[in-house]
C-alpha cells in the first residue's frame, strides 16, 4: 500500500514538473519570439524522429532474435510446415515494406523539417507513380492470396480415408476425449443422455447405437506418429476452441454444429524432448475461445508416440459401455442375472 501511495505521489510530482516546464517554455517563447521557439521545437522533434527510427529498427531486429528462442518450435505436423513456409514468405513480403516505408517516413520527416529558406514543392499528384504503387502491392497480395487459399483448401479439405477418428467434446471447463475404438466410428449421442447411467455417461452416448460400444474416453490425447488423425470437435455448452499450438491446429467447438480438423503428427513427444533438451516437455491441448471464468484452465496433455506404443496404450483403455455395465453390476450386487438383463435393457432404451 505504501509503495502504491509513494508511486502515485512520484507520478503526480513528475506531472507537475512537466506542466511547469511547459508553462515556462511557453513564456520563454513569448519572450524569445514565436518563430525562434518553433524553430527549436522543429529541430528537436525532427531529431527525435530520426533517433526513434534508428533505435526502433535496431530494437525491433534485436528483440526478434532475442525472443526467437521462445517462439514455438518447428511445427510437429505436416501442414504446420506449410504454414511455417507461408509465414516465412509473408515475412519476405512485409518486412521490407515495413523497413522502407518507415525509413522514408521518418527520414523525410527529419529532412524536410521547417526552414525559412525552403519552399515546399507543389506536387499534387503523379498518376504513373500512383499506378505503380497500386499495381505492385496488388500483385504481391494476389500471390499471397493464391498461396494462402491453396494451403487452406489442402488443410480444410477432406481427411484421408485412413484417418483415425477422435472426438473432442468441450464443456466448461474441460475437454472430453473420445476414441472411436476398433470400428473407427464414433457412436451417436445426444445431450439429453448426459449424466445418465449414474453420471457415467458424460457425453450422452446412445447405447442402442452399437458403434458406441467400443468407444472409450481418455484423459490424455494419445496419437500415433505419422498417421492422419481426424478430430471431430463439438461442445455441449458454450463456444470453445480446440487448440494444439505445436501442431498449428485450431478449430472452434460449437454447440449444435459439429466441426473437424485433420492433421498428421510428425514428431513423438520423446523426439521433442530430445530436440528441445527438455525432459519434461509435453504437447498441450488448450482452449482458444473465451468460454467463461476458467477459460485459461482447460488443459490436456497430448502424447505422440510410436504406433506400437499407441496400440499398447489403446489396448489398456476400457470402453465407457463396459464401465457402465460393470458399475451397474456392482450396484445390483447380489441381484440375479435376470435383473441384470433388465438393467441392460433399460440402459439401451435410453
Amino acid at each position: 500500500m505504501l509503495t502504491t501511495i509513494l508511486g502515485l505521489i512520484t507520478i503526480i510530482l513528475i506531472l507537475i514538473i512537466l506542466f511547469q516546464i511547459s508553462k515556462a517554455s511557453e513564456m520563454l517563447a513569448t519572450l524569445k519570439g514565436e518563430d525562434k521557439s518553433m524553430n527549436m521545437a522543429n529541430k528537436g522533434n525532427a531529431l527525435m524522429f530520426m533517433l526513434f527510427l534508428i533505435f526502433g529498427l535496431v530494437g525491433s531486429v534485436w528483440s526478434t532474435f532475442h525472443y526467437a528462442d521462445l517462439f514455438l518450435p518447428v511445427p510437429s505436423s505436416v501442414h504446420g510446415i506449410w504454414l511455417r513456409n507461408m509465414f516465412f514468405w509473408t515475412l519476405v513480403a512485409t518486412v521490407p515494406v515495413f523497413i522502407v516505408t518507415h525509413i522514408a517516413l521518418f527520414y523525410f520527416t527529419y529532412k524536410y523539417q521547417h526552414s525559412k529558406d525552403r519552399k515546399s514543392y507543389y506536387y499534387p499528384h503523379n498518376n504513373k507513380l500512383e499506378l505503380i504503387w497500386t499495381v505492385i502491392p496488388s500483385i504481391v497480395l494476389i500471390l499471397l492470396v493464391y498461396e494462402g487459399i491453396r494451403n487452406w483448401y489442402k488443410i480444410t479439405g477432406e481427411a484421408p480415408k485412413s484417418s483415425m477418428i477422435v472426438e473432442a467434446t468441450a464443456q466448461q471447463f474441460m475437454w472430453n476425449l473420445r476414441y472411436s475404438g476398433a470400428d473407427n466410428q464414433l457412436g451417436s449421442k445426444t445431450v439429453k443422455n448426459i449424466g445418465k447411467d449414474n453420471g457415467l455417461n458424460v457425453l450422452g452416448q446412445i447405447w442402442t447405437d452399437a458403434k458406441n460400444h467400443d468407444d472409450f474416453l481418455a484423459d490424455e490425447l494419445h496419437l500415433p506418429i505419422n498417421k492422419p488423425v481426424l478430430v471431430k470437435i463439438n461442445s455441449i455448452d458454450v463456444l470453445h476452441s480446440f487448440y494444439l499450438p505445436h501442431f498449428r491446429v485450431k478449430m472452434d467447438a460449437v454447440p449444435g454444429i459439429p466441426t473437424q480438423f485433420w492433421f498428421i503428427p510428425t514428431k513423438t513427444t520423446e523426439q521433442m524432448r530430445q530436440e528441445l533438451d527438455d525432459p519434461t516437455f509435453n504437447y498441450e491441448l488448450a482452449c482458444a475461445e473465451l468460454c467463461g471464468q476458467a477459460h485459461f484452465n482447460m488443459r490436456r496433455v497430448v502424447v505422440v508416440e510410436e504406433e506400437a506404443e499407441f496400440e499398447a496404450w489403446k489396448a489398456k483403455q476400457k470402453t465407457t459401455y463396459a464401465k457402465i455395465k460393470e458399475a451397474a453390476a456392482a450396484e445390483s450386487g447380489t441381484a440375479s442375472a435376470a435383473e441384470k438383463e433388465d438393467e441392460t435393457k433399460e440402459m439401451s432404451s435410453l
Partner: protein, 617 residues
C-alpha cells in the same frame, strides 16, 4: 431554411458584443439550451469529446488493472481491493471480474471512445465548419444523438455496479456464453444491460450518421463542390454511410440475443447442456436448430465495418493535418478519395475474416481471404500518398503533426500484420493469440487514438473559443505515448508467435504459454507509464480550455480550410455575416510560391500562374 438562417444570423450578432462567460439577459439562450440540450454542433462536439475523454479514462484504467494481473499473477494489490471491493478480495482480481474488465475495456474503447468520442466529436465539429454550413441539417436530431449516447453510457456504467458484475463474454459477446446466465455470472443482468446500452448507442449512431450524410450532401456552401472538400469531410461522409448501413445489423443481432435470453427463443442456441441439465424450450423439448455462428455473422457485419468507422475519420484528419503542416497539397487527392470509397465498399465484404475457424464453411472463408487482402491495396495507397505528401514539404512540428506522423507509422506496422491474419491458413495458428491483440491495438486502437489526439491538438482553438493548447506539454505527451505504445504492443507479436492465447487470466497452467513472465512485466510497466502519460494531455486539455492563451491570429496553422475563416468565438451559426463562398480545393499549399491559399480566396486575387503549373486543380 431561409428563416432559420436569418434567426441564426441575429444570434451571432448578439454574441459578438458579449463575452461568452457572462450571462446576458437579452440573450434567448439559457444555460440549459446552451450547455446541456444544445443544438449547436460545436457544443455537441464538445459534449461528445468530453464524454469520450471520461470514458477513455475509465476504459484505459481498466486495462491497467487487468495488466497488473497479467504481469504479477501471484502478487496481491491492496489498491485493487480498495477500488473493486469484493471483486478483488485480498488484492487479487477474481477471474470473472478480470473478464468483466477485459469486456468493458473493449466495449468502452471501441464504441464509446473511438466511435462516439472520435467520429461523434469531429464529424459534428468539422462538417458544418469545413463545408460552410451554419449547422447540421437537423440540429435537433443531432442533440438527440448525443443524449442517446449519454444514455447508453449511463446504462453501461450501471452494469458495472450490479451484483453479478458487468458482461464478461468479451466485447464480441458471443452466445451461448452471453445468452446463458448459468454459463457465467456476467451473463446475468450485466449482459442484459450491455445489450440495452448497445441498442441506445446504435440509435445514437444512426441519428448522427443520417445527419452527417444529409449535411454533407445538401448544405455545402457556394463553390464547395464534392471534389473540393477537404479529405476530413470525405472520411466523415463515408464513415457515416458505413455506420448507417451496418449498425442496424448489429441491432438485429442484439435484439435476437435479447429474445434468446428472455423470451425463450433459440436463434443462437442448439444442443446445450448447462447447469446440470439439457436446455429445453417451454414445451420441454430439447432446443435445437439455433446457430451460434449466425450471431457471429451479424456481429461482424457491423464489427468489421466498425474498425473502418473508427479509422476513416482518423485518416481524414491525418491527411488534413499532414498537408497543412507540411505545406504541401495532399498527394493524389483523387486517389485518396477513391481509396476511401474502395475501403468503404470492401469493408462490407470482409467481415467473416474474423470467423475463419469458427466452423464456417471453408469455401466461404477463402472468398473472404481474397477481399481482405484486397482491402490492403487502398490502405497501401493511402500510406504511400501520405509519405509522398511530406516529401519535399516544409514541416512544422505542431503536436497535431507529431500525432499525424505517429499515426502513419502505426498504421503501417499494424496494417502489415493484417496481411498475416487475413490469410485464413495463417490465421489458424495466429487466431485468438496475442498476435491479434497486437495487430488490432496498433492498427485500430492506437492509430485511431492518435487520430483523436491529432484532431484535438489541431482544432482545439475551434472547440474552445480560440484558445490554444500548450505545445511543450503536447510534445511530452506525444513522445511518451509514441514510444510507450510500441513498447506495449510490439512484444505482443512475439507472444503470438509462441501461440500464447488472448483472454487468459493467467498462464501458469500451460508450460507452452508460461514463458513470457518478464515480457508481461515489461508490457504492464509500459502500459502504466503510458496511462499516466495521458494525464499530460488531460491537464493540458482542461487547463487550456479555461486558461489557454488565445491564438494570435485567426489562422494559426496557416490552413486553407474554411473553419479558420470563422471569428475567434463563433456563435451558433458559425459566420457572423454571409457564409463565405469557396473558389478552390482545400490543398493549394506551396503553389506558385504561396505558402497557402485559403479556399475562400478568389482565383484572380492571388498571383497565380495556374495554367503553367503541373497538375493544377
Amino acid at each position: 431554411m431561409a428563416g432559420t438562417k436569418v434567426k441564426l444570423d441575429t444570434h451571432t450578432g448578439a454574441h459578438d458584443h458579449h463575452h461568452d462567460d457572462h450571462h446576458d439577459h437579452h440573450h434567448e439562450e439559457t444555460f440549459i439550451s446552451k450547455y446541456i440540450f444544445s443544438q449547436d454542433h460545436k457544443m455537441i462536439a464538445k459534449q461528445f469529446l468530453i464524454t469520450g475523454i471520461i470514458w477513455a479514462f475509465i476504459g484505459v484504467m481498466f486495462s491497467v488493472l487487468f495488466r497488473l494481473q497479467l504481469a504479477w499473477p501471484n502478487e496481491s494489490f491492496p489498491i485493487l481491493e480498495m477500488l473493486l471491493g469484493g471483486w478483488a478480495e485480498g488484492g487479487k482480481l477474481a477471474p470473472s471480474f478480470y473478464y468483466g474488465l477485459v469486456t468493458m475495456h473493449g466495449t468502452i474503447m471501441v464504441f464509446f471512445v473511438l466511435t462516439a468520442g472520435l467520429s461523434g466529436t469531429f464529424s459534428n465539429l468539422l462538417i458544418p465548419l469545413q463545408i460552410g454550413a451554419r449547422d447540421m441539417a437537423s440540429p435537433f436530431l443531432n442533440m438527440l444523438s448525443y443524449w442517446f449516447f449519454f444514455a447508453a453510457g449511463v446504462v453501461m456504467a450501471i452494469s458495472l455496479f450490479v451484483q453479478t458484475g458487468p458482461a464478461t463474454g468479451g466485447w464480441t459477446v458471443y452466445p451461448p456464453l452471453s445468452a446463458l446466465p448459468e454459463a457465467s455470472p456476467g451473463s446475468g443482468l450485466g449482459m442484459t444491460l450491455w445489450l440495452f446500452s448497445m441498442v441506445l448507442f446504435i440509435v445514437s449512431s444512426l441519428l448522427g450518421g443520417l445527419n452527417y450524410i444529409t449535411t454533407v450532401l445538401n448544405m455545402r456552401t457556394k463553390g464547395m463542390t464534392m471534389m473540393r472538400m477537404p479529405l476530413t469531410i470525405w472520411a466523415f461522409f463515408f464513415t457515416a454511410i458505413l455506420g448507417v448501413l451496418s449498425f442496424p445489423v448489429l441491432l438485429s443481432g442484439c435484439i435476437l440475443l435479447l429474445f434468446d435470453r428472455s423470451l425463450g427463443t433459440n436463434f443462437y442456441l442448439s444442443d446445450i447442456f448447462i447447469g446440470g441439465e439439457p436446455l429445453v424450450n417451454a414445451a420441454g423439448d430439447l432446443m435445437q436448430g439455433g446457430s451460434p455462428i449466425l450471431f457471429q455473422h451479424l456481429f461482424w457485419f457491423l464489427g468489421h465495418p466498425e474498425v473502418y468507422i473508427v479509422i476513416l475519420p482518423a485518416m481524414g484528419m491525418v491527411s488534413e493535418v499532414l498537408a497543412t503542416n507540411a505545406k504541401k497539397p495532399i498527394f493524389g487527392y483523387k486517389a485518396m478519395v477513391l481509396s476511401i470509397l474502395a475501403i468503404t465498399v470492401l469493408a462490407f465484404l470482409v467481415w467473416a475474416h474474423h470467423m475463419f475457424i469458427s466452423g464456417m464453411n471453408p469455401f466461404v472463408g477463402s472468398i473472404f481471404v481474397l477481399f481482405t487482402l484486397l482491402i490492403a491495396v487502398p490502405s497501401a495507397i493511402k500510406v504511400f500518398n501520405w509519405i509522398a505528401t511530406i516529401w519535399r514539404g516544409n514541416i512544422s512540428f505542431t503536436p497535431a503533426m507529431l500525432f499525424a506522423i505517429g499515426f502513419v507509422s502505426l498504421f503501417i506496422s499494424g496494417g502489415l500484420t493484417g496481411i498475416y491474419l487475413g490469410n485464413s491458413a495463417l490465421d489458424i495458428p495466429l487466431h485468438d493469440t496475442y498476435f491479434v491483440v497486437a495487430h488490432f491495438h496498433i492498427v485500430m486502437g492506437m492509430a485511431a487514438g492518435y487520430g483523436l489526439f491529432t484532431g484535438v491538438y489541431h482544432w482545439f482553438p475551434k472547440l474552445f473559443n480560440g484558445r490554444m493548447m500548450n505545445r511543450t506539454l503536447g510534445y511530452f505527451h506525444f513522445w511518451v505515448t509514441f514510444i510507450g505504445s510500441y513498447c506495449i504492443f510490439w512484444p505482443m507479436h512475439y507472444m503470438g508467435m509462441t501461440g500464447v492465447p488472448r483472454r487468459y487470466f493467467q498462464f501458469d497452467t500451460f508450460e507452452t504459454f508460461n514463458v513470457y513472465q518478464d515480457l508481461n512485466v515489461f508490457i504492464t510497466v509500459a502500459a502504466i507509464v503510458v496511462f499516466f502519460g495521458q494525464f499530460l494531455f488531460v491537464i493540458n486539455f482542461f487547463y487550456s480550455a479555461v486558461k489557454g492563451p488565445r491564438m494570435k491570429n485567426l489562422n494559426p496553422w496557416k490552413s486553407n480550410a474554411l473553419e479558420w475563416t470563422t471569428p475567434m468565438k463563433p456563435g451558433h451559426g458559425n459566420w457572423p455575416g454571409a457564409i463565405p463562398s469557396v473558389h478552390r480545393w482545400a490543398y493549394d499549399y506551396g503553389k506558385n510560391g504561396h505558402e497557402f491559399i485559403p479556399q475562400v480566396v478568389p482565383n484572380g486575387a492571388v498571383d497565380t500562374k495556374e495554367k503553367n503549373t503541373k497538375g493544377a486543380h
